[in-house]
Subunit: 466 residues, 2 copies
């Protein structure tokens, strides 16, 4: 299956061959996380947790179910979710008095409690996050990690004294994102979504998009400023230093298992997955190369090597199955282990370990004496190299456009837009492309709206989406 | 509130004061995990994960929802759960064709997949586990961590070639339990449950019970042997070495957030929680003792002390709030931090840190030079001491009984039982006590059935349960 020619089929094939998830569960779009897929996802969760903890967010866990009465308090929000939530209507043999919704996201679960927790300006900022599964009744075709009905999800929620303080949180979120994305070797665009595409209830939404090999974008997360849109209906107020009661300003930041989907799409190739070292369940695999007279010596050396690397904190797998090295290479290539270490009689004599990089195929030798540092360095190099390659690929997919005469296929289009809703809808409807929004980070631009011709100093991007 | 006199109220009070969970969520029995409670639970999850990983179990994550058709395949099982599951009947604006159940436990989610995963004897044993939330529509009075409707839950599921191999798994589970319980400083009894009290669908169930200060038992987990009771309806078969197709033998092992409830009940006192060091979100708290002329020196030394302990892997909290030391002592006492470290001008001059143990109140000094090892050792001593105290308390609550003339209150009763259902029911119904079952580990015993007088070589235990 070839990645460049038929990304959709290639993706389905690779998820199955690498055994990251099993889609044969008897509910469509609710897949089983296999051990390998779950380890990769847990590593991603770990990277998220680290950055959130370091910036003073507290991890919590809120109930899954939300009473319909709470769920419906914010009018825009419920309009946005009405058609895609699961309803619990019965418990045991009884019908419930108040129906319960399975969280599609946790605003309406958390905010009644925030109203109890926040009393004074000294309780602010309140910064919490949780990593849980959320539920959306997806009616489009499902695809592992990218579009599913049970979604592994990280969400942070914050409350602030003012709009400005909430804005500073958004900036911190952007900083956190850049650190996490670096470990995932994922480039991305930040776009302030159009008014008709923002999160239901938000003041504004920053979409986080990455580019897939087929030239479509995949939204891997979003950051929202709510102003007081939720704190008003939920009554989340604080007493300021002058004894006045004010509504808090809120933000949220969310990312999902799509991060894993994005990694698969961005880094893998026709031979299988390529896992970024910080995500890989196994960062290195050791394959003993045994000839007829050196079995025990090589086996023992391989065991010692595994122990040394593991003690150093490297996630290492010793593959001592009774199988030919070639078939082992093949298995671990598909599963995307970033570094293969081969250890044979000759290597032991020479005091080296032979390595092969999964990403480039490059081979070489590392001195056994400094094997820990050698492997660590190679993993760093692989990480940087994956980032650079993905970055280049993303840039190559963006095309500036100054007329609507011919629209290139499989590209992210960048062009001027006056910002008005009429022009935006006209463009989206005519070309079946989605306007991703205007850049969140300032960009120099001077041009004309590609639809109405009015002068504008903001570019916009549009693309087909996964 | 006094623990010994009114355990029930004391417990509710302590959970609230220590801020482990917030029960004001608008659905009864679905509580919010606060940062402190969630950290403690995550530490427990970590202990479980470590032992499960070390014994070759793979972590997975199965979908939350189970189609009614799959849920009803094993007749005993569904009879046992029919009255206590939540039903999802609608998605978006549509009624579902097949109703979905929120997992009360995951047999019926996992076993259709095991039927696909297991092909040959080489795929066995299959050993997986997950840590997820489960759901039961509890109609009795709810109590944080002990009886809730959304339950944080660990469950391992295994498949084996034979009944004997499955039995060996049960023995491994008992071993795993002993390691985890040691870290939680929790004593427990293992009882083979009566036939009318075993898990719905099990061949036999081992209940894991611990004793609360009021003399009631709390079941903190269970281990089940299923034989082929589930593999038959779910069609989980393997081809053996002779090419014959056989049903697998299965086991499960589950424990829940009740472990945290048990810890609170077992170790805490009238001044608040006492967290076992391996569970404590903060193992030590540093309180700078500042006098009017040494502020900066003490603050700097406290910071350096925190950094040293943290680098050594100790979970340490530096409390440098602008408050009196006494009020800080009080706060951390309630929250159960096992070790308090005080650092003042005199301590710095003498090159020591003053400590106070939360469990005994004992005070002393540790040399600053070896502070890491000193704190580590004290935490170990506290852990052993908590275990011994809880063990003693458990033993003191067990009373041997050889007649029904007078039944002691607030005790776990140990007596002979012929094992027949008639005598069992008669005893339970007459005295409103639950028979916990017969000892899982062999015990010397010779006596008579306390009900019918028949000779028996097995004791049984009975108690009121939480």
């Amino acid at each position: 299956m070839e990645k460049e020619d038929n990304f959709g089929d290639w993706y389905i094939d690779i998820v199955e061959k690498a055994n990251l998830s099993d889609k044969r569960y008897p509910i469509k779009g609710m897949n089983v996380w296999t051990p390998y897929g779950w380890k990769a996802m847990s590593n991603i969760d770990g990277l998220i947790r680290k950055e959130l903890d370091a910036t003073g967010h507290d991890e919590v866990c809120f109930p899954l179910m939300i009473p319909e009465t709470e769920f419906k308090k914010e009018k825009e929000h419920i309009k946005g979710f009405d058609s895609e939530v699961y309803w619990v209507t019965h418990a045991g043999l009884n019908e419930l008095d108040v129906r319960l919704v399975l969280r599609p996201t946790s605003e309406t679960a958390m905010y009644p409690m925030f109203a109890l927790w926040v009393r004074s300006h000294q309780d602010l900022p309140l910064k919490v996050y949780q990593i849980v599964n959320t539920f959306r009744y997806e009616t489009k075709q499902t695809r592992a990690f990218m579009r599913v009905r049970e979604i592994h999800f990280f969400e942070s929620h914050t409350c602030h004294v003012s709009e400005e303080d909430a804005q500073r949180q958004i900036e911190e979120d952007v900083e956190i994102l850049s650190k996490i994305a670096k470990k995932l070797c994922l480039p991305y665009f930040l776009s302030v979504r159009t008014d008709w595409d923002k999160f239901p209830g938000a003041y504004y939404t920053v979409g986080i998009d990455t580019v897939m090999p087929n030239g479509k974008t995949l939204q891997i997360g979003s950051i929202h400023h709510y102003r007081t849109n939720f704190s008003e209906p939920y009554g989340i107020t604080y007493e300021n230093e002058n004894g006045e009661h004010k509504h808090v300003h809120q933000t949220t930041y969310g990312m999902s298992e799509r991060l894993l989907g994005a990694i698969i799409g961005a880094h893998s190739d026709d031979s299988g997955l390529i896992m970024p070292p910080d995500v890989a369940p196994f960062q290195a695999v050791i394959i003993p190369i045994i000839s007829k007279d050196n079995g025990p010596i090589v086996a023992e050396a391989a065991l010692a090597l595994a122990a040394r690397l593991s003690a150093y904190g490297i996630r290492v797998k010793l593959d001592n199955r009774d199988a030919r090295p070639g078939s082992k290479y093949y298995d671990w290539e598909i599963r995307g282990v970033p570094l293969r270490l081969e250890l044979g009689g000759r290597d032991i004599e020479n005091g080296v370990v032979t390595f092969a990089r999964r990403d480039t195929g490059e081979k070489g030798a590392i001195e056994l004496r400094n094997i820990e540092q050698g492997v660590e360095l190679l993993l760093k190099i692989i990480s940087v190299s994956l980032s650079e390659k993905a970055e280049k690929s993303q840039i190559s997919k963006v095309e500036d456009m100054d007329s609507l005469d011919s629209i290139p296929e499989g590209k992210i289009l960048r062009f001027g837009w006056c910002g008005c809703e009429e022009c935006g809808h006209k463009f989206e409807d005519t070309y079946d492309l989605k306007i991703l929004g205007t850049p969140y980070l300032p960009e120099e631009y001077s041009g004309r709206c590609i639809i109405c011709g009015k002068a504008t100093d903001k570019p916009t991007m549009a693309a087909r989406t996964m």
